[in-house]
Amino acid sequence: MSASSTEIRFAREVYSGEAVDEAVKTFANFASFELTEDEAAWIVRVTPNSPDVARRLIGEFGNYALGLTIQRGGTTTV
């Protein structure tokens, strides 16, 4: 059974695009991802493979993207 999808908007001024891409690649085995973008944010629609771990998966995914952004020195837009 597949869990419902959740849309996460990563603000461009806060999150690095490369960090979000790398986070998607890292978590690709645990969920399916759809990536889009607009002027203000990187938009990721996450559909976990298992609904039981949806909250933890989305949270860890966000933490991973944030951690990579910080380790890369932040974004270049601010």
């Binding site: 603000a11 806060v14 949270g59 933490n63 944030l66 951690g67 910080i70």
Partner: protein
């Protein structure tokens, strides 16, 4: 519908909102007081304890959503979490300000340390040094010698005529008279 109870925290209600059903706490951060680097620092400390999400809802303002990794945290735990995060955010902002204030000193010391680690220049380096490159400006002439600045007097140049004639004459007068007195004495003895 989630149950948002901002009055359950001691922080200002317009800045903090606690959602007990979703087990999240939302903190509004003024970007003019807390720079993004400070927000990064505080968030990085908390990502092992809770899920951290940062949003930029409008210009000059961040929104931080904290969610403990425990599925059902107590409301007191949420309140403590946002309080600790706010303290850490303030600490990171202050350290960021100190770093900005001391940036020039830090860079200067670092450059001197690197230059010192490179060792003394060799004779070949000194021979190849381009002295034509002006190292610094000297508008006040501090690096000039006294002769370059005021002009060196040549030894053959006669002294000025009106410079100290009377004292020199007064000093030479007894010396000129003394041999005569000696000669007079010698003559008298003879």
């Amino acid at each position: 519908m989630s149950d948002t109870t901002p009055e359950s925290t001691e922080l200002p209600a317009e800045l903090v909102a606690v959602d007990t059903n979703a087990a999240t706490v939302t903190l509004a951060v003024d970007a003019t007081i807390y720079p993004l680097q400070a927000l990064y620092g505080a968030s990085y400390i908390f990502i092992d304890r809770c899920f951290v999400f940062i949003d930029r809802p409008e210009e000059g303002r961040f929104r931080v959503v904290l969610s403990p990794k425990d599925a059902k945290p107590e409301p007191e735990a949420l309140r403590a979490l946002v309080g600790e995060f706010a303290n850490e955010l303030l600490s990171c902002a202050w350290r960021h300000q100190i770093t900005q204030d001391n940036r020039v000193a830090i860079e200067t010391v670092t450059m001197q340390a690197i230059a010192g680690a490179m060792g003394e220049p060799s004779l070949d380096d000194l021979a190849a040094f381009d002295f034509s490159d002006e190292a610094f400006d000297d508008p006040l002439g501090i690096a000039q010698s006294w002769e370059e600045k005021h002009g060196k007097k040549t030894p053959s140049e006669p002294p000025p005529a009106d410079a100290g004639d009377e004292p020199r004459a007064a000093a030479e007068q007894p010396a000129a008279e003394q041999p005569a007195a000696v000669s007079d004495g010698a003559g008298a003895a003879q």
